[in-house]
Symmetry: C2
């Protein structure tokens, strides 16, 4: 039998009614001839509640105990989903991560999947079981203790199962009906995409689109897992949602596929840095050691041996960044006259594999922003994206202007 | 190091504050030189919530999935307790049932403990860990799936650990401060016992006293585990609570140790049963097959080859009992003219190992009830208890009258 992986996120299993609704979808795929692996998240709100307990108990918690606590939400949903399927006369049973076993490294709270042996579940499929319900987000480490994969890890679980079991497709059921050209909440013209290339989805996910966890897209790309994102709240046919797939399957060939944004950005400028060989390493080494995720970097033209160095990082890492560079200054490793942090900025990005073949995409972006009198503070580019840092108050305007400029409302 | 087992029930770990309070007690025992095994229940209300989910999803649920779901509450508390101890600089880690592994048979939802290997936990104690926090109520079956021990199973987990690890004592922390001569809520003169014999505790637990799960007392008796029941809400010294121990250690030698009651009783009478050899087997065989827990049985004097047969069972099994005997009648296995079920009854019992040596205890009980004009419907006795079935409306009166008659308020 062909195998299908279906993943239901927290809002899709938030109540017993929603679990029933999800189970009905699973039942239809079983009736259609599939053996199905269902990956479930915790009922929405549960994981946050458990994380809250842990953080209140122990601010600098032992990640092994964190994992033991927060993984329990998925176990509940997995059992309830199996029971619901059984009530519908669909042969099903639940697996917890350690029972599969989904083997991970021992990086507790952000473990990476190492191996998913398929024997146990395939044997049950061989005996006539139709649905294996697996608790998402969790595994077992080399140390024999429960691990979790980090927030959103159930997407990654689903893709990893699809890869290991060579599933025909991996359907991710969520509270939106697919991947949009941009966030419909801030741009009324946003259009659902029927298909998107892995590389584009990866950039959109990294750049702030929350529909899929970045690692799950990476994994799907590496193992060429056909990934479909669709709403669990709408009835739909097999063509619904958005298919995330390899570039050759992707029919759309526009320069830009989507516009992403992220509010969670801050700009930090070190003023009048002594400009000499190795100064970048002297600054960004200590920042990396302090766990600051530096994103964009720009260095002004050097005048009289001094320059300004600007970088962006997540807003909640600004204090850590300040401490790291001030410590480095105190140790005499770097020298600068002052530090200015601006947390009232945001990042807006355009993404599209078509950029590789379309010239002038960046210029068109800058023109569109200039037409709205939006000042660009920092720019970074890659082969398939251009990101700019701008004042946060212009964020919605910028997204709308770029959506118009690249005519994304047109299919 | 000597080992102590400490078990905290649901109300004792109902909030993070209460977990902290419990952890402080554990810390004191560690400071006193013990290695401690802590057994925790789910935060109060959690197990009921999960059982509710399961029953709503699937009234005739697959017990294996039930176990996977309802065991998750204890996992949360175990992790939080370990984190709380770590915050107090007490070296601790959590174990889930399958990690110990606590091996049970595969009678899901009411599994029996088969073995608790001590190697893993003793090795950690050897490395300097001071507290092993174990999720109560759960284990792993021969089938590799999670099992649970039935409601109240955390008491049994605690006693089983105490037996396996040869613990010096097993302290059960609960929301009452010990075992009383009777329920203080219905008899103001009820007195806390300092000690009680295993056999007495076993009868009291079976007869309705809710302070300890019956199986845990059985197990403590078999392995001679010193069991102490005490309140987690009061500060107390080493002499607090009630010690449940072997008879020879028990200083009190009164005829009656306590009065128990159970509201959850119904009386079922089969009227005019054809009285012939084998009729009891023909009636109680089908009842046993239907899972009806028949408690007391009384058969009237036979007249003209017919008799009335009366038995008691839990109130919620009356319908099942009716179906079982009516089915047997339809199959021609038994014959009776009618069935009368009375759910307005209750069972009141006196318990004491002193009955073995004190004559006339039953007579004194019947006299006390007669003095209050309480009619006795059914009587059963054992070596150390006398139970009567009476109208439920007299329950409190009967308990108070018996408490007075045997002068239980006097220490």
């Amino acid at each position: 039998m062909p195998i299908l992986v279906m993943k239901f996120g927290g809002t899709s299993v938030a109540t017993l009614d929603r679990i029933r609704r999800a189970a009905k979808r699973v039942g239809r795929e079983v009736a259609g001839g599939y053996d199905v692996i269902v990956i479930v998240s915790a009922m929405s709100g549960e994981t946050n509640k458990l994380v809250g307990y842990v953080e209140e108990t122990s601010p600098l918690f032992d990640a092994r105990e964190y994992d033991a606590v927060v993984s329990s939400g998925e176990n509940v949903t997995a059992g309830l989903m199996a029971l619901t399927l059984q009530e519908m006369d669909v042969s099903a049973r639940s697996w917890q991560g350690w029972q599969v076993p989904l083997k991970t490294n021992s990086a507790h709270a952000s473990a990476r999947i190492e191996e998913i042996p398929t024997g146990n579940i395939l044997a049950k499929f061989g005996e006539g079981m139709k649905v294996a319900v697996v608790a998402g987000f969790q595994g077992i480490g080399d140390d024999g203790r429960i691990t979790t994969l980090g927030r959103g890890g159930s997407d990654t679980t689903a893709v990893a199962f699809a890869a290991s079991f060579k599933a025909e497709r991996c359907d991710i059921f969520t509270d939106v009906d697919g991947v949009y050209t941009t966030d419909p909440r801030i741009c009324g013209k946003a259009r659902k995409l029927d298909k998107i290339a892995f590389e584009e989805m990866l950039e959109l996910a990294s750049l702030g689109a929350k529909v899929l966890q970045t690692r799950s897209v990476e994994l799907a790309m590496r193992y060429n897992v056909k990934l479909r994102v669709l709403s669990s709240f709408e009835e739909h046919n097999d063509e619904a949602g958005t298919l995330v797939c390899a570039e050759e399957d992707n029919m759309e060939s526009k320069a830009v596929a989507g516009v992403a944004y992220s509010k969670d950005e801050a700009k930090v400028t070190l003023i009048s840095v002594a400009d000499r060989p190795g100064v970048s390493a002297a600054i960004f080494g200590p920042l990396a050691d302090a766990g600051v995720n530096v994103d964009m970097i720009v260095q002004n033209i050097s005048e009289e041996g001094r320059t300004d160095m600007t970088f962006s990082c997540p807003t909640n890492q600004v204090k850590r960044a300040e401490k790291a560079v001030n410590d480095a200054k105190a140790r005499g490793e770097i020298n600068f006259h002052g530090l200015v942090a601006d947390t009232e900025v945001c990042k807006v990005s355009i993404v599209g594999i078509g950029m590789r073949s379309h010239a002038g995409v960046a210029a068109r972006m800058f023109q569109a922003l200039r037409d709205e009198n939006i000042n660009i503070k920092v720019i970074t580019t890659s082969e398939i994206k251009v990101s700019v840092l701008i004042d946060r108050k212009y964020m919605e305007l910028a997204v709308q202007a770029l959506h118009d400029a690249f005519e994304l409302e047109k299919g």
